[in-house]
């Protein structure tokens, strides 16, 4: 450790003000603080501080995504093997998925962090840790067959337009990872929707078993082919077709436990999102007609399908874009879940409503907070009236 510290200390002057590479100061600092918690001591205010920092927070979130990621890799291989009519071992499936998914992760991180570093440098800020999470979220919510250049472009769009133009992590209005996903969805509708992109190799179509469709459960349901839906166990454990990391509700729940236990994820938002979704599902059940069999899909199954679970645990809970007030969090989460299922079932143009619903409530979060704060001020004033 001392040796490493010595090397860093020797390099430091080169990257500091006046040094040859002073232009890369933020970059150097990012790497230095990655290796070492800095020696900075308190100078104003409280002399002691909690050990918690943003790096720790972000690392916990990434950790919570690992189960979904690992399962996603396995599932990529599994779905591919099914599409070509073979039976692979778990290890073979996983390795196949690893090789397919790893490049997407690398592209996402390299593009995003590159831009983050550049912005930090220009602004003379420290590099913010926010993208550690976004960079992992993006690969998990794209279909496996997505071309890498699209991932790069979408990531760049999300980081620049979704985040940096607002001032960086903490200032953004909408969730950057979802911005990337929405960019892909709207910029490349031909490549990004349909039944061909969800399973590796399907778009090339070589060696595919005759009659294999590759449609996601949501697409089947939207088309009214309720008999083609996977079993509830398959939905829950995630051996179904879908975006890389969002199929397994089970793996996502492990992540949820990590987030909730450590207190990094907000339980109010998660719970109210699920309640909102469930309630909408139930409402649709009540008003179900024969012409739209999708409406009678049992409400609880909605929670296992598509990106709902992933959205509930990793997307809607992003503290920056969520409502900030405690009461606001209940409203915000509930609206998110409620609208997600509504869009999913009722709007035929979008087979999945979670992404759009979350982006929509992201935009509404400040308004929700505004009214919650207004109510709070009213309560404060009342308190004086009573006690005075």
């Amino acid at each position: 450790m001392d040796g490493l510290r010595k090397i860093v200390d020797q390099l430091k002057p080169t990257f500091s003000k006046g040094g040859k590479l002073a232009k890369l100061e933020s970059t150097f600092e990012a790497f230095e603080t990655f290796l070492f918690v800095p020696n900075k001591t308190t100078h104003v205010g409280s002399h002691v501080r909690d050990y918690m920092d943003l790096k720790r927070t972000m690392v916990i979130v990434v950790l919570a995504m690992i189960p979904a990621l690992l399962f996603g890799m396995y599932n990529v291989g599994l779905q591919h093997s099914i599409s070509i009519g073979e039976t692979w071992s778990i290890m073979d499936s996983f390795l196949f998925g690893l090789i397919k998914v790893l490049p997407i992760i690398v592209v996402s991180y390299v593009t995003g962090l590159g831009i983050e570093f550049a912005f930090a440098q220009v602004r003379h800020h420290e590099v913010n840790e926010g993208f550690l999470v976004s960079g992992m979220l993006i690969p998990l919510i794209v279909p496996v067959d997505v071309p890498l250049w699209m991932v790069a472009l979408a990531t760049a769009f999300a980081v620049i337009i979704g985040k940096e133009v607002f001032g960086g992590t903490g200032m953004n209005i909408v969730n950057p990872a979802l911005t990337a996903r929405a960019f892909l969805f709207f910029a490349y509708p031909a490549q990004m929707s349909g039944d061909k992109i969800w399973v590796e190799g399907l778009s090339q179509g070589e060696g595919i078993v005759d009659g294999y469709s590759g449609a996601t459960a949501l697409a089947e349901a939207a088309a009214g082919n309720m008999q083609n839906l996977p079993s509830v166990a398959e939905m829950f454990f995630g051996t179904i077709i879908g975006s890389i990391g969002e199929t397994s509700t089970f793996a996502i729940l492990i992540g949820a436990l990590i987030l909730l236990y450590t207190g990094v994820g907000n339980w109010k938002i998660m719970l109210s999102f699920v309640v909102g979704g469930f309630l909408m599902g139930t409402l649709l059940n009540v008003f179900a007609t024969d012409t739209n069999p999708y409406m009678s899909l049992p409400a609880y199954q909605h929670l296992f399908l598509g990106g709902f679970a992933f959205g509930a645990v990793f997307m809607i809970t992003d503290p920056v874009t969520a409502a900030q007030t405690e009461r606001g969090k209940w409203i915000y989460g509930f609206l998110g879940g409620f609208i997600a299922i509504l869009v999913r079932v009722v709007n035929p143009a979008y087979p999945e409503g979670v992404m759009l619903a979350i982006l929509l409530v992201n935009v509404f979060a400040p308004l929700i907070d505004y009214y919650v704060v207004k109510g709070h001020v009213k309560r404060r004033m009342k308190r004086f009236a009573v006690k005075a």
Binding site: D50, Y51, M52, L54, G130, T169, K329, F384
Partner: protein
């Protein structure tokens, strides 16, 4: 006894080195100082020069805009230095004691014999007035205004806090005299808050309304207590006085001259024998800390670790402080510190495995444990501010300098110490106390 107010939000930071209940009479220090920097929003006007002889109670400087408020010498002797900082701001007026205790006499008496005006005159003259602070703003009270009430917190819940039950054990009659004097002078009700579950000697206090508070820090903060007893609305003023200072007021007026003795706790993980010391207001800490501090790079804090002032080991006790904390400096690098399991790292979040040992006392240092960031996490502050106040929204209103929003969100009810825990728990390492003080200063400027 009134009912117990239960404070649910907050945080007790358990630290190594709480002062033991033994009282040491400190070797009398030679140097004493009154520091204008201890008082917010004060423009001092110097009244003495270097080499002037002073008595106990001789005015050293006064408030330039309220000249009746004087700051007096706690000992008799000679002014040896007026230390100045940037732009010639006066940092401290240093007096060398001659050990004679020559005093400046005032009219002596009790609440029964002195009139309200005479009490006020005495407090102002002896330099005891600055002990009376006002809410809003946490500045020295204006002698012209009549407060709606006087609040005294009879305990301190901060980390390593001194135990006032121990400090005041032998000063009860002075404390009672102080209460009587304050009540008579102000004509306002006096509220004294006591800790639940402790047999505080202050329970016998008369002529005051007693309240009991239970729960974690900041239950002992007088601002939190006011909030729960009778919140301050716009246009209202309340006064606050520290418990030991009440006793000092009582004792001084009874005797007709300033008696600036006080008991101070020396605490912290770097103290060899943490205990209480009998010393004098503004004393140099040199004698107290001599040979009682462990080796290593340490920080001396006049006050508690959340709100105190960093001082050097030859500097002086703060005007309002009854605690001297000594903790290790945190100027070290830690390899992958943010990634390690963190068994010994105290945190309110359960991202560190220290949640396995909730009752452990920690040796906390002054490292930031991370870099400053924009607000990211939400809801952290709410858990440690037991008030009907939205902390983040108030801070943001201050940063935006939105006076109306600050008023609505409760700027009149808070001072920086109420936000100290926000600062402690903040993931983004935002210096909330500084923001609050800037907000208070802005309010003073805008509304005067």
């Amino acid at each position: 006894m009134s009912e117990v107010v239960k404070i649910k939000k907050g945080l007790d930071i358990k630290m190594v080195g709480k002062a033991e209940h033994t009282l040491q009479v400190s070797k009398s220090s030679d140097l004493f100082a009154i520091k204008p920097t201890d008082f917010h929003n004060l423009t001092p006007k110097l009244l003495v020069r270097v080499d002037d002889e002073v008595k106990v109670g001789t005015a050293l400087f006064q408030d330039k805009y309220r000249p009746e408020i004087k700051f007096t010498s706690p000992v008799s002797g000679k002014v040896v230095a007026v230390n100045r900082g940037e732009r010639r701001r006066i940092l401290e007026v240093v007096i060398e004691s001659d050990g004679k205790h020559d005093v400046l006499e005032f009219k002596k008496g009790s609440a029964a014999t002195l009139s309200a005006d005479e009490i006020k005159e005495n407090l102002l003259g002896m330099g005891l007035w600055p002990f009376i602070k006002q809410r809003p703003y946490g500045i020295i009270a204006n002698p012209e205004t009549k407060p709606k009430a006087i609040f005294i917190s009879g305990f301190d819940s901060a980390p390593l806090a001194p135990d006032y039950a121990f400090i005041l054990k032998d000063q009860l009659s002075s404390f009672q005299t102080g209460i009587d004097l304050l009540a008579k002078m102000s004509g306002a009700p006096v509220h004294v808050s006591l800790p639940a579950g402790q047999d505080s000697p202050l329970k016998q206090v008369k002529n005051a309304k007693l309240h009991t508070f239970a729960g974690p820090h900041p239950a002992g903060n007088v601002g939190i207590q006011i909030h729960h007893i009778a919140p301050i609305n716009k246009g209202e003023t309340a006064w606050t006085v520290g418990p030991q200072e009440v006793a000092m007021i009582g004792r001084s007026l009874e005797n007709g001259h300033l008696i600036a003795e006080k008991i101070v706790a020396l605490a912290g993980s770097e103290v060899i024998k943490p205990q209480y010391y009998k010393t004098t207001l503004g004393a140099s800490i040199k004698e107290i800390v001599a040979a009682n501090i462990k080796d290593g790079n340490v920080r001396y804090i006049s006050g508690n670790v959340l709100t105190g002032t960093k001082i050097s080991k030859s500097n002086f006790l703060g005007f309002y402080d009854s605690l001297l904390s000594v903790i290790p400096e945190g100027d070290y690098y830690e390899l992958f510190g943010w990634a390690l399991p963190g068994f010994g790292k105290f945190s309110t979040s359960r991202t560190f495995f220290s949640w396995l040992t909730p009752n452990k006392e920690y040796r906390l240092d002054t490292n930031y444990h991370g870099g400053e960031r924009a607000f990211v996490m939400s809801g952290e502050y709410n858990k440690v501010v037991p008030m009907e106040v939205m902390p983040v929204q108030l801070l943001k209103a201050i940063l935006a300098e939105d006076i109306d929003a600050m008023e609505q969100l409760g700027i009149y009810e808070v001072i920086e110490e109420d936000f100290a825990l926000c600062e402690f728990v903040c993931t983004s390492k935002i210096d909330s106390q500084e923001i609050i003080r800037n907000g208070l200063n802005l309010m003073i400027k805008e509304l005067s």
